[in-house]
Structures are given as structure tokens and as C-alpha cells.
């Protein structure tokens, strides 16, 4: 059996990758994609806890996270489409009408 901690480290690495994407990228679509990566990292963590402790809740939480990821993608993409249509912007630092 693969040790539990490997999964933990893996999920944290993927979380960090996603976090970097959110913090550093400017393209709105890639920012949204990075949120998905973060979600995926955390899913591995939850599923592995469930797997090693024989408790169903982790899987169920993964299930809910999946749905939430879909929700976030849906809302985010709606807004991105609208922003692109109306403001012709796709980079986060160009969306800067408001200041201060």
C-alpha cells in the first residue's frame, strides 16, 4: 500500500500549483482553471483520508466538491463571457475601472 503521506504531499503540491496560477496569472480563464486545479488537489486529500480510515464521509465530500467546482466554473464562465462581450477584456489587470 502506498503510504498515506504520499497522498497528502501530492495533494498539497497540486494545491500549490493551483494557488500559483490564481495568484500570478492574468488571463481570467486560466485563473478559473487554476481554481479547478485547487479543488482537485483537495479532493485527493479527502478521498485518501476516506480510503485509509474506512469512512464514507470523505468520498461524499469529494462528491460535493465536484458539484461546487461545477458551480464555480459556471458562474465564473458566465461572468467572463459577459466581461469579454461588454468590456472586451480578458486580463485581470485590465479590468481596473475602479481604483482605491
Amino acid at each position: 500500500m502506498v503510504p498515506f503521506k504520499y497522498y497528502v504531499v501530492l495533494s498539497l503540491i497540486i494545491f500549490s500549483i493551483g494557488l500559483l496560477g490564481v495568484l500570478l496569472r492574468k488571463n481570467l480563464i486560466i485563473v478559473l482553471v487554476s481554481f479547478e486545479i485547487i479543488m482537485n488537489g483537495l479532493m485527493i486529500f479527502l478521498a485518501s483520508v476516506s480510503y485509509y480510515t474506512k469512512d464514507v464521509q470523505g468520498y461524499i465530500l469529494v462528491f460535493f466538491l465536484l458539484a461546487l467546482a461545477a458551480v464555480e466554473a459556471g458562474v465564473g464562465l458566465t461572468l467572463v463571457v459577459l466581461v469579454y462581450r461588454k468590456l472586451k477584456r480578458i486580463y485581470t489587470d485590465e479590468v481596473n475601472y475602479y481604483r482605491g
Binding site: L20, V33, I37, T53, I60, V75
Partner: protein, 178 residues
């Protein structure tokens, strides 16, 4: 044992490398496709973690729906502009600081996270001799987690309704300004 390890290493590399490629790719289409690769690998990792149900859902929902949605949007927006490296990443020291804080936090909590907590108590335990993983998940999902399950349904409904409301129904007022 060794086989398991090899599979794990393959799958984890199959997630990390596409992940990195996704966040550094210039073209959003590429990024989305790399995430698709990541998600497929992750689905199989969920399989090795004992849940064939989640694997299926992951592939159907994520790969089949969410990523396709992303692709649709990317094509719809049809970014013609070539990306220059200058506008590619934010020069945001604050973002980097936040990232470092998180990394520091993870390193600090690694000892706590890597060994299973002694206070962990399985509240909804399952036994594979009595039913498959799917059976157990379904059983709890429709009893203990019924309310949350319904809530997620409402949540998805609201997203769909809201998106349609915004994108289809509203007509911009000409010259209307605030």
C-alpha cells in the same frame, strides 16, 4: 506493492506535470486541455483510492461537462491576440508573499497531516464485504446527506437560471449610464 507504487508515481506525475503546464501555458486552450489531462489522471487516482463511483462522476462531470464548457467559452471568446510575456503574469509581489505563507504553513503542518490523526473517528464507516463502495456512498448520500444533496441541486439550478437570465434575457440600455 511495487506495482501500486509505480501506478501512484505515474498518476501523480500525470497530475503534477499537466498542472504546471496548465498554469504556464500561453494559450488558454492549451491550459484547458492540460487540465483535462490532469483530471483524467486524477479520476484514476480516485479509482486507486477505492471509489469507482467518484471516478465515473469525475470523468462524466468534469471531463465531460466542465472542461467542455471551458473549451466552448474559450472558442467563443476567440482570443486572437498574441500573448506577450509581459502581460502573461502579474508582477505581484503580494501574490508571491501569500504563496510563500501558504507553503510555510503546509511545511509546518506536514507532520500533523502525514500521520493519521489519533483522534480520527470514523463516523460513517463502511465495510466492503457488505456492499460496494458505490452502495455505501449512495446509502449515506440519500439518508444522512439528503439535505445537502438537495441543496446542491438547488445550487446548480440557480447557476443555470442566473446564467440564462444574465446572458439571454437582459438587453443593454443604450446610452443608459450611471
Amino acid at each position: 506493492m511495487i506495482l501500486e507504487m509505480i501506478v501512484f508515481i505515474y498518476l501523480s506525475l500525470g497530475m503534477i506535470i499537466p498542472g504546471i503546464l496548465a498554469i504556464i501555458s500561453k494559450n488558454p486552450v492549451h491550459a484547458v486541455l492540460w487540465v483535462l489531462v490532469l483530471i483524467l489522471h486524477q479520476a484514476f487516482m480516485l479509482f486507486t483510492l477505492g471509489s469507482e463511483f467518484l471516478t465515473a462522476v469525475q470523468i462524466i462531470v468534469y471531463a465531460g461537462a466542465v472542461i467542455v464548457l471551458f473549451l466552448f467559452v474559450v472558442y467563443m471568446i476567440n482570443l486572437k491576440r498574441e500573448e506577450i510575456w509581459k502581460v502573461f503574469v502579474k508582477k505581484s509581489p503580494l501574490g508571491f508573499v501569500i504563496f510563500l505563507i501558504f507553503i510555510f504553513f503546509f511545511l509546518k503542518s506536514l507532520t500533523f497531516l502525514t500521520a493519521l490523526s489519533p483522534h480520527f473517528k470514523a463516523h460513517l464507516p463502511y465495510d466492503l464485504t457488505q456492499g460496494t463502495n458505490l452502495w455505501w456512498i449512495a446509502r449515506y448520500l440519500f439518508t444522512h446527506f439528503l439535505f445537502q444533496f438537495e441543496l446542491v441541486g438547488v445550487l446548480l439550478l440557480v447557476v443555470v437560471l442566473g446564467a440564462v437570465f444574465l446572458l439571454r434575457k437582459l438587453k443593454e440600455v443604450e446610452g443608459g449610464s450611471l
